[in-house]
Symmetry: C2
Subunit: 173 residues, 2 copies
DNA sequence: GGCGTTATGTTATACTATAACAGTCTTGAG
DNA sequence: CTCAAGACTGTTATAGTATAACATAACGCC
């Protein structure tokens, strides 16, 4: 195994990527998925999903609310939280506990239990599903007789882009 | 491998254990540690630590506040949060992000990055430090060029005691 | 169109956490 | 011992996150 020079796996969307494609793909997948399941991706839910996908950094509920209002929609906290609740239930978004914020799911459609890499600098978040992590956790839990139902795995640190920048002389603060 | 009959590792304090010993041990360790580091485990901080250790279930800041007040101490939210901040900095407690609550550290004294098993039924929480999990996560992050600074790993599910109970006929909900 | 169900609007409130400043206690230098 | 600097705590106010409860509106089936 010679991983040294080979390009790393892609996990973080580059700073230059065409994000409109991300959003469009997420909305298309959500539309298809909800249709297949016979649940309603209403206009409000679609707009909230779109705002969650506004960036790859987790979005707070009140930031979403604020934007909805600026765009002319009547909205209060329950408006947003109910939409988020629906999107969570459908597996279209995830909640980042350590940030009290929400991020779009990159592989909706089937159950999956991955983990998140969250850049402390730019906020960019990558969703990773690594079987080694899952099995290590399952083994570890099984050894003490614990039955796992839900997992929250969030690693904070620095994404490739922000590590590079810190070399360029920007005082890390 | 025949794990069936062999007793599992101990991670969860049994429902019957003498919890006063847990508290006493935690306070003693904290006293010793703070003395060695030259930081002050004041009366308030000690009392807050004791209240965090009131149970193996994570304790909310406002529950601690409430108890402090009932016991006659003048206290407001900052009183508690400042003490919790100190205890976190000294590694005497951990914050459970998915519960916005705090739990005593079972192995204070040196840096460690383990994970938590949290019973959805009784709340009991076990702190586990499994090298396989750590290395799986580190490998996984390294492959995508992510530099990990902090990790939040919280597994929700059912502890051995509560799995047993659910078999005893108690309707699961 | 009537009607049950689902979704959204609206108001109020609970829960979690921190800012800002004042007063008190501890500690060590002189 | 005294006092000044720093650390700790008290106090008030407010920010940020989330939900309860009830009213109204939209949908979808008959
Ligand atoms: Zn993108
Ligand atoms: Zn970054
Ligand atoms: Zn105990
Ligand atoms: Zn339990």
């Amino acid at each position: 195994m010679i991983p040294s020079i080979s390009s790393p796996k892609i996990a973080f969307a580059g700073a230059d990527h065409d994000h409109r494609r991300c959003v469009a793909a997420a909305l298309a997948a959500a539309t298809e998925l909800c249709a297949r399941r016979g649940v309603r991706l209403t206009e409000l839910r679609r707009r909230v999903l779109e705002l969650v996908w506004r960036s790859h950094a987790p979005q707070g509920a009140y930031a979403i609310l604020e934007t909805l209002r600026r765009r002319g929609r009547r909205a209060a906290p329950p408006t947003v939280y109910r939409a988020l609740e629906f999107l969570l239930a459908q597996g279209l978004i995830h909640r980042i506990e350590s940030a009290s914020a929400f991020v779009g799911c990159t592989t909706p459609g089937r159950p999956h239990a991955g983990h998140f890499l969250i850049c402390s600098d730019c906020g960019a978040t990558a969703e990773v599903d690594d079987s080694r992590v899952g099995s290590a956790l399952r083994d570890s839990a099984a050894e003490v007789g614990f039955r796992v139902e839900r997992q929250t795995i969030e690693l904070s640190g620095y994404c490739p882009d922000c590590q590079d920048e810190s070399l360029d002389g920007e005082p890390s603060d």
